[in-house]
Structures are given as structure tokens and as C-alpha cells.
Amino acid sequence: MDWNLRPARDLGLTPADRLRSLGREPGLVGLAVNTAWRRAVRAYLRTAHRFRIEGHDNLPRSGPFVMIANHASHLDALALSAALRGPAARRAHALAAGDLFFANSARAALSAYAINALPVWRGRSRRGDLDTMRARLAEDSLAYILFPEGTRSRTGEMAPFQPGLGMLVAGTDIPVVPCWLEGAREAWPAQSRLPRPGRPLTLTIGPPLQFPETRNDRTGWEAVSSRAEAAVRGLAPSRQGGAQTAGGGQKPPKPV
């Protein structure tokens, strides 16, 4: 009798390597820590930042999908994961800068167990790493939280999107959910060590995009990036220049 036995993807790794592995699959302990952390963050955001979510119906209930947003603050990933519920929340991984969030073992443990982050190594991401992430997204029905700008904006202006997002979803039916987070830069600026309670925070979730016909190559990735960038910009309040890309994310755009 042949059974379908699938060992953990991170089997055989030492505990330190496992924390930084893209194949890390949380067990009961990881799930409990992550759930407790997410609930605590949600409670904090609601009380200290009057956190509001608009367009919650646009979020798929379960994976696979990719949530993308503008990036101005460490609060961003926390706020996006706080918006998730049910199976999607339990399978959500924030893609975080390895050099910052996985710099030492203590930070790596916090990032891996509490935030459920997967490390992305800026400037030296290997193609194999992206292939692993792309494969896991579909096979394990994950939800990725990703900031395609690549780094936090110091000015509040959104930077152009990097092509990495396209490498994950080009040529698949996996939805990309554009989001705009307003107020995060004031609530926790990049220069500040700690968040500043009292500043309001609003998350706007737009209708998902899909890229089934997009080619999985550089031109395809760039097409994904520019459409995703337009969709995110379209969700920004008007002073952010939403008019230039009017309608970018308001109606479900056709696949490229």
C-alpha cells in the first residue's frame, strides 16, 4: 500500500539553519506563538492606532495569494498580517529582509516564531530561493506578505516596484491583493526605535489581480510589477497622486 508521506520540508536542518530556511514549516509551538503574537498585535493596533480595514471582502479566505502594499514602516507587515483571519492567517509568511530580521539567532527566532517571516536576502537572492518560494506558495497554499519596493520609504513617497513579485506569480492563477496602508510612517517612522501610539492607521484592500497569461520571464515580471504598482497607487488617498493612475485598482483589471 503506497501512502502519501511527506516529511517536513525543513527536516534534517539544525535548529539555527531551520530558522532561516525558506522551507521552514511551523509546528504546534510555532502556530501557537504566531497566533498569540498576531492577536496581541491586532489588539495593540486597534487600541493604540485605531486600526481600520477597508475592503476586507477583497481578501481571499485561504491561500495561495500574495498581499502587497506600500512600505514605510516596521508596522506594515504587522498590520497586514493582523488583517488576515482563519486558514490564511495561519499560513501567512511575511517576506522580510534577512540582513535585518535574521541578523542574529535571537532576532531570527522572534522573526520566525512570532512573525512567521521568511528571509529574503537583498541583493543576493538566488534564483533557487525564488523558485522555492514560488513552488511553496502554490503547493502549501501559503499567503505571502510582500513589499515590492524592497525597502521602507523614508519620505512617504512610494518607490518603483522590484520584479521579485512577478517571479512568484507570473503565469499562475494566484491572486495578488494590492493594499494601501495609510499612517504607518507617522505611527512608526523608519528613524524611530519604537512606534508612536495615538497615530491612526488605515488599511485599504483592493480587488485581487491575476496574471495567468503573463510570461514567466523578465518582461513578464516587469509587467506584473508595473500593474501591481499601479493598483497599489490607485488605492492611495488622492494627495498621493491616485489621479495619475485613476482606476488602477478599483475594478478588477484584465490579465496582461
Binding site: L5, P7, D10, L11, L28, L31
Partner: protein
């Protein structure tokens, strides 16, 4: 009741003897590896492997023997931690950890059965095996996901049998005031059993035991281990069970053979699991050994088997208070 003299942890001469023998083996093996390193007879990677194993034992032995020497509660706590560590490795190797509900029920079952041991409540202790099996059989039905039901339920029930109900017998033994020499004997005898099988196999050689399951094991090794372990367990057992119905040469030899055969069966059981999955080690926690399960596999079946043999002739903790927590 296992006969026991009044006094502290070292009141029984067998306890002292096993601890001294263990320290002596550790010292002699350390010196032997040192000599091997200096003489330059062994390859560097083999020497490294030997040192890793030896260092692992130096950490592991105090963690194994220490709680047994300290007392009943630390012994049961140590067995609980061992059970959870074994389950974790098994769940990650088989993929059962993805079934959150089953994993949670198994963890709760492990905690409950060890609590029953801590409470010295034999009725609940034995009831938890069928009760947990029933809970495991039904707990994933409400998910309305029949695909894979047989596989996940079977994996879960095997896990609870081996790491929950089975291993907990080792902790339950500590409810008997005279548990120390017996538990120490089991812990050291299964290790000796492994070493005897390896050594006899290397010295005598010959036909493979079960080449598809475990290519390095030989028939001569298995037989040699039975002879060595049976002799040792029967002799030490005679000193532990003096004056009880078990102190009969036939039963003492049977107990020794049971330790050896159940120990090797546990080893082969884990080998079968690993072969089926196509993996070499269950984990990386113990350098030189692999995972916790790679080290403690032999204990999985020995604990319940010896418990019930001794329970039949002598009994555990029959004269001490029961249900010490639940009242």
C-alpha cells in the same frame, strides 16, 4: 513492590553499581578515543564522529540518569519531555505535524497519560490508551475531509501508542519506592544491547539480519546482543528482585531476553519507519547520534513489556498512596 532498603537515592547497591559502571564506561571509552586519536590509527572524520558521540553521551547521561536519581516527579517529567520530543521528530518526519487537530490530541494524550502516572492513578493510566485512540479516530471527522483519513488516523494512533502510552510506562515505574535500580537497569541495558549488537556483529560477521530494513545489522550481532543483555539483566535482576516471585532463574532469563528482543525490535521498528520515508536520521538534536528517537528507539517497546512482566509478578507501588493529586 520492588524490595528496597531505607535511605536515599544510593541506598540500593545496584543503583550505586550502575552509576559507577556507567561513569567507568564513559571514562574508559574517553581514554580509548584519546589513545586512538594520538596513535593516529583512525581517520580524522572517524575520530571526529567518535568524539561527537562521546560528548553527546556526556550531556545525555546526566539528563537521563539524573532525574531517576533525584526522585519520582523529575523522573516522570523527564519521560514526559522525552515523549514530546519523540513525537515531534516522528510528526515532522512523517508529515503528521500538518494535521493540527491530531497533533494537538496526541500532545494532550501524552500530557494526560503522564499526569495519570504522576497522580499514581492506574485506572486512568490504562484507560487513556483506548480513550485517546477513540479521540484520534473521531477528531478529524468534523473537518469533512475524508481523503487521507486512514493514513492520518493510523499515523496518529501509532504515534500515541509508541510515544504516549508506551513510554509513559517508564515514568509510571517511579511510583514504586524501589524503582531506581530497575529504571536505571533498563536505561543502561538498552544502550548496552545496542553496543553488544554492534560489537558482536563486527567481531563475528556473517549473514545480514534484515538487509532491506537495516543493512548494517547481522544475525550474529542480534544473537550476541541477546546473550550479553540477557546475562547482564538476569544477574542484576536477581539482585533487584531478591525475595520476590520474580527471583526465579527462568523468569529472570525471560526478563533479560525480553529486554534484548524488545530493544532490538524497537530499533528495527524505527529503521522501518526511516526506510519507508527514505531518511537517514530522525533529527539533528544529538550530534553523532541523530535525533532523540535514533537514541531512544530501543526503549519504546522495552518500557511497556518489562512493566507488565514485573507488574504480573511483583506489582508497582502497591503499598504507597494512589491518586495523590486528584484525591
Amino acid at each position: 513492590m520492588i524490595p528496597h532498603p531505607e535511605g536515599g537515592a544510593f541506598a540500593h547497591p545496584v543503583t550505586t553499581g550502575i552509576i559507577l559502571a556507567t561513569l567507568a564506561v564513559l571514562a574508559v571509552s574517553g581514554l580509548a578515543i584519546l589513545w586512538l586519536s594520538h596513535s593516529g590509527r583512525a581517520k580524522p572524520e572517524f575520530r571526529r564522529e567518535l568524539w561527537l558521540r562521546w560528548a553527546s553521551w556526556c550531556v545525555l547521561l546526566p539528563l537521563m540518569l539524573g532525574p531517576v536519581l533525584i526522585g519520582r516527579v523529575p523522573t516522570i517529567l523527564a519521560v514526559t519531555i522525552l515523549s514530546l520530543a519523540c513525537y515531534r521528530e516522528y510528526a515532522r518526519a512523517t508529515g503528521l505535524f500538518r494535521e493540527r487537530v491530531l497533533s494537538l490530541v496526541i500532545v494532550l494524550g501524552i500530557l494526560a497519560v503522564n499526569f495519570a502516572a504522576l497522580d499514581h492513578w492506574y485506572g486512568f493510566f490504562v484507560a487513556l490508551w483506548p480513550l485517546t485512540a477513540c479521540a484520534l479516530a473521531v477528531c478529524t471527522i468534523p473537518l469533512d475531509r475524508p481523503a487521507g483519513y486512514i493514513q492520518r488516523t493510523a499515523l496518529a494512533i501509532l504515534a500515541f501508542m509508541l510515544f504516549g502510552a508506551g513510554l509513559a510506562h517508564l515514568g509510571y515505574m517511579a511510583n514504586d519506592p524501589g524503582y531506581r535500580p530497575l529504571v536505571l537497569l533498563l536505561l543502561t541495558a538498552v544502550a548496552l544491547n545496542d553496543v553488544a549488537a554492534f560489537t558482536c556483529g563486527k567481531l563475528i560477521g556473517g549473514a545480514k539480519l534484515l538487509p532491506a530494513t537495516s543493512p548494517n545489522k547481522t544475525v550474529s550481532g542480534a544473537m550476541g546482543a541477546v546473550v550479553v543483555t540477557t546475562t547482564l539483566v538476569a544477574l542484576v535482576g536477581a539482585a533487584i528482585f531478591r525475595g520476590t516471585p520474580l527471583a526465579n532463574p527462568v523468569w529472570l532469563v525471560a526478563m533479560g531476553a525480553l529486554v534484548s528482543v524488545a530493544g532490538q525490535a524497537g530499533d528495527l521498528l524505527l529503521s522501518s519507519i526511516k526506510r519507508d520515508l527514505g531518511i537517514k536520521d530522525m533529527g539533528t538534536v544529538l550530534p553523532g547520534h541523530g535525533g532523540v528517537l535514533d537514541r531512544f528507539n530501543s526503549l519504546l517497546l522495552v518500557a511497556p513489556a518489562v512493566f507488565h512482566l514485573v507488574g504480573y509478578f511483583v506489582g508497582f507501588g502497591l503499598t504507597v498512596p494512589t491518586r495523590v493529586i486528584t484525591g
